[in-house]
Symmetry: C2
DNA sequence: GTCTATAAGAAGATAGAC
DNA sequence: GTCTATCTTCTTATAGAC
């Protein structure tokens, strides 16, 4: 049972009901409730993982009766899958495309800043992903093995080209991608730890700017590159 | 309810029973069973978090009946706390001490390599810690606010001294600690993702050596330092 | 479409036999 | 010390009233 196959199932369930084209937009409530449930489920699953999350808690967060949640998604797995549909779509849309003809410093800086920005805007998605991986990626294994593996191979190839052309220091491209992933996601996944250590109640925009500046400076210099003045 | 107070409670429960000094060592079975349970619980909690873990599963992993587990620890929280007793003890024992009189390059290299080595030797402990933080650190909040905060302040102070003496580039010391934490722990916490992306069945020693070499090279260069020939 | 009631099973925890 | 039996509560999921 792959993410892809389940994704299709959930899309079918999502398809608008035909022959009911009324003026007040059919499925308006449906849409709104689905969104509430998705938002609530993201919080619950991000915090407690698949097994630790309960439908009751999701329902309470969504301010809906539990059976209403099960009416829309029929079971716990479907809710979980639906979340990854959304997250992977966002991931693929935003994800930095680096090309051989780009300037290495500028491309890597954009990559780092985009990832930090994602940690800022979608911390729950980041934590949900982290939970799924820590738990052994039971749902995303196929995706990692195929799409994500291909993505890394492609990006690593571009970085290797830059190295071969002497445009940056000789560093392992795949390890570099891991470094950028880990260091940027950290701000979302370990938010509580960072806030406690820095003695703050919550993050502000400038904290993320500062983090992005720091990571850009250190990683680019670490790759033998000078930060661009973007 | 702090970690410290519960830690004391678990130590009391651990105290040897008096007036039973027999030749075959009293509590031998007890000790062995406790260890089995701790090892099993580490796996279960690391994979599923506090709420997702079940006593039944811990018992099965330990190959003991469920009530035997509850006999030794009386409830789920006690098992969880006992894990952090062990982990924090290890953490404090191994944790890299950097001092102002040290060479920055050598000290940071040791820090990075020690952390990678910990990811290799104790991946479950790393994942357990990650789970606890992602879930909002309900058990470790006090520890983060006090001990860990102090530790970071101390280490950051030393790094700042090096910077002020012009012995390394001007980088935010606290962010540097976060960077080293995140990038090194990543090899334990996101093990599955790395293995899938690199198309491997499992890690080998040389993968960790390679990762440590990479991180040392990039981060040291990123801090304006040359790697030492250690 | 929505929600109450409830089945069926699993969870944490305890009592007490051995 | 060990383990079976059991209590209570909670969990997923379904049936069916409205």
């Amino acid at each position: 049972m792959t993410l892809q196959s389940e994704a299709k199932l959930s899309q079918i369930a999502e398809a608008p009901v035909k022959g009911r084209t009324r003026r007040y937009r059919p499925g308006r409530i449906r849409e709104r409730n689905r969104e509430r449930i998705i938002a609530a489920a993201e919080q619950e699953f991000a915090q407690h993982g698949f097994r630790g999350a309960t439908i009751q808690n999701i329902a309470e967060r969504a301010e809906l009766p539990k059976s209403n949640v099960l009416y829309y998604f029929s079971n716990k797995k479907r809710i979980y899958y639906a979340l990854f549909d959304d997250i992977m779509a966002r991931w693929n849309a935003v994800f930095s495309e680096i090309r051989p003809e780009d300037d290495p410093a500028q491309a890597l800086e954009t990559f780092i800043r985009t990832k930090v920005e994602m940690s800022r805007r979608f911390p729950l998605a980041s934590r949900l992903f982290a939970q799924e991986i820590i738990q052994g990626a039971p749902f995303l294994k196929d995706h990692l093995r195929t799409s994500m593996r291909e993505w890394v191979r492609g990006r690593a190839g571009v970085i290797q080209q830059w190295i071969d052309e002497g445009r940056m220091a000789q560093v392992d491209p795949v390890q570099l991608i891991f470094l950028i992933w880990s260091s940027t996601q950290h701000y979302a996944d370990f938010q509580v730890q960072i806030l406690m250590v820095e003695n703050k109640a919550e993050y502000e925009q400038r904290d993320f700017d500062h983090a992005a500046d720091f990571l850009t400076a250190v990683i680019l210099r670490g790759c033998g590159l000078e930060p661009t003045k973007q």
